[in-house]
């Protein structure tokens, strides 16, 4: 199953790109997409559970399921956020 991934701010800089495609098994959740992205871009690994996410331009939980063709955005912490997701 293929999804599109968008990276913002420092995540984009560390990965060296704003957009990528990612293949994950059917039944995957957003956190599985993140793991795959962090694996292919080790510089992102340090973010661990401090990223948040959106699916198709709407706020989503990392545990939410993904579907074929979804656009998943990963967001580094904002200036005055709260706690991590795990």
């Amino acid at each position: 199953m293929r999804v599109s991934v968008q990276l913002f701010a420092r995540l984009r800089e560390l990965a060296g790109r704003a957009d990528l495609e990612c293949d994950v098994p059917a039944g995957s959740a957003i956190q599985d997409v993140w793991r795959a992205v962090a694996e292919s871009h080790p510089a992102l690994g340090a973010y661990g559970s401090s990223v948040s996410c959106a699916r198709n331009e709407d706020f989503a939980r990392m545990s939410a399921p993904v579907g074929e063709g979804d656009v998943i955005a990963f967001l580094p912490p904002v200036s005055g956020g709260a706690r991590g997701w795990s």
Binding site: S49, S52, E57, F59, G81
Partner: protein
Amino acid sequence: VPLADLSIAHEPLGVERVVAELERAAQREGEGCGGVCTFVGVVRATHKGRRVRHLEYEAFEPLALKAFARIREEIDGQWPGTLVAIHHRVGRLAVGDASVVIAAASAHRAAAFQVCRYAIERVKQIAPVWKHEFFDDGDAWVEGATADVDDADARRRALDVACA
């Protein structure tokens, strides 16, 4: 051109326009407009002792607008009859430039102050907008903690600060 009351702005923000727009809207509602409270976030010349040369703000625009709309809904639930405008600049900003303008209008001043404070606290907590600071000797992204729109504790903290 009338301003939308929520925006990500690529051009300089004008407080007077925002206020005039909001005041006009508030006059049409309920008891009318008795006060407008504004907050203007301004690019500071220093950060932790380092001299700031300029800033760059980046937003995930569609989601930022949804975050602003969410904040407006929260305000509508907590302070019925008040109005709020939220505008955040993106792109390159110089020291002294306005990065964010918030205006809150209400029939009575107490609610206007509370709404204005609540709105800026929530913007800082949940809006997908990132600040990149450039110094004479390097640069740094400003990152606090994870944005979570559903975090009830964060919302309560913003409410406590607004109503203190």
